[in-house]
């Protein structure tokens, strides 16, 4: 009576019935250095002299002299990175050495970082142990001004004011006949 029914148990090795609707896509393992395809990479043996610009994120572990401009994209200076350049990017993270000014929305100096130069940013993070010589000018984020919706409502409610409204909007504000 208390004996379990072996026929109800499904052995683990029993192949399940093939149901094409339940088949999940097989995930291929990501290659170890996949990030290299997403982030441009400059290795530690590379020396670049001149203007370095791009429209993708950059991991820089080599040496750069000149200027680095990545508008809207991030720059990471690796632990072997040696940059003697002015940097302009969206976000800059420094593990190595930078000699030059940094202009970015966010700047992060890691504990191994050595930076000589000025920083103009909206947010700066400096880890303990980082060396920094220069000035930091934190500029406040410029929030977009709210659209004057109240003004539009006021214009629509007062006929005298509607004459001063832009011509393009006047037709929209006119009551339907």
């Amino acid at each position: 009576m208390w004996k379990s029914r072996k026929e109800d148990e499904i052995p683990a090795s029993t192949p399940s019935v093939f149901n094409p609707k339940e088949v999940r896509p097989v995930e291929t393992p990501k290659p170890v250095n996949e990030f290299r395809s997403e982030v441009a990479h400059i290795g530690k043996s590379v020396l670049v002299k001149g203007e370095l610009s791009g429209s993708e994120d950059l991991y820089l572990d080599g040496e750069v002299e000149g200027s680095v401009e990545l508008r809207g994209h991030n720059l990471t200076v690796g632990p072997h990175g040696r940059v003697r350049a002015h940097i302009r990017a969206k976000e800059v993270m420094v593990h190595g050495k930078v000699d030059g000014n940094i202009n970015a929305d966010r700047v992060e100096l890691k504990k191994s970082a050595i930076h000589v130069g000025n920083i103009v940013t909206q947010r700066v993070i400096i880890e303990e142990g980082a060396f920094f010589k220069g000035s930091i000018d934190v500029q406040r984020e410029q929030k977009p001004e709210p659209k004057p919706a109240v003004t539009v409502a006021a214009v629509s409610s007062s006929p005298a004011a509607s004459t001063s409204a832009p011509l393009g909007q006047a037709s929209l504000l006119e009551p339907k006949r």
């Binding site: 700066v124 993070i125 400096i126 880890e127 303990e128 980082a130 060396f131 920094f132 010589k133 220069g134 000035s135 930091i136 000018d137 934190v138």
Partner: protein, 226 residues
């Protein structure tokens, strides 16, 4: 609980590090203490925005965060680290090794056209090599705006080689966080001399006024107005 309280008092009033267990790095220990000089400094910059402040101590993230958060522009320059550069050492006319003052001033404290409203000098003058003290104070005087304020600390007695060099972090309007510099680190700072009040007044004689505050841990805090 009792031992914790005892350690805290010891660390505050004797300058030791609180809770230095075997697994803790001495450099990581930070001790809070009140500072009348810092309180005066904070009052003088309170309510103002867009000031230029020069921090001459070791790079301190809390100081930078606090001051930039108040809307000020901060310049940091680790003057002691620069003064210990072995490349600065030259042989003088008397055959002794000395610091090349001209070279130091060429490479440090160079802010063309920049004038500062406030300077955090901490205890840098106590640790600077002798030939650099006066030229550095003169350079600071030239870099500050009239009415600008400078905060400096001076030891009141020589505690010998056991006197720890500290990094100063601002923890509040009148609260400092002291962090002892590791003695096995890349740079070891030794107290060079002890200034008395007369020495300090002479050192800052180009400035408009001085105000002294005596702290409990053998440190004299001075507010100097340019």
């Amino acid at each position: 609980m009792g031992s914790v309280t005892h350690n805290l008092f010891r660390s505050i009033f004797r300058g030791g590090a609180a809770g230095n267990g075997p697994n803790q790095q001495p450099s990581a220990a930070r001790v809070n203490r009140r500072s009348s000089g810092l309180n005066e400094f904070s009052k003088s910059i309170a309510g103002l925005e867009g000031l230029c402040i020069l921090d001459l101590g070791c790079t301190s993230a809390p100081n930078i965060s606090r001051l930039t958060g108040m809307g000020h522009k901060v310049c940091t320059e680790d003057l002691l680290d620069a003064a210990l550069d072995p490349l600065l050492l030259v042989t003088g006319a008397d055959g002794k090794r000395t610091v090349d003052v001209a070279r130091f001033l060429r490479e440090s404290l160079k802010y063309q056209g920049q004038k500062f409203d406030a300077v955090l000098a901490w205890d840098v003058p106590d640790y600077l090599p002798e030939p650099l003290v006066k030229p550095v104070v003169e350079r600071l005087c030239a870099l500050m705006k009239p009415g600008g304020i400078l905060l400096a600390f001076f030891h009141t007695r020589d505690a010998g080689p056991d006197a720890p060099h500290c990094r100063y972090h601002i923890a509040g309007n009148d609260m400092l966080q002291l962090q002892a510099t590791p003695r096995d680190g890349p740079a070891v700072f030794r107290l060079q001399r002890v200034f008395n009040n007369r020495h300090i007044e002479n050192l800052f004689r180009e400035f408009a006024s001085l105000k002294f505050f005596l702290a409990r841990d053998n440190v004299r805090e001075v507010i100097v107005v340019r």
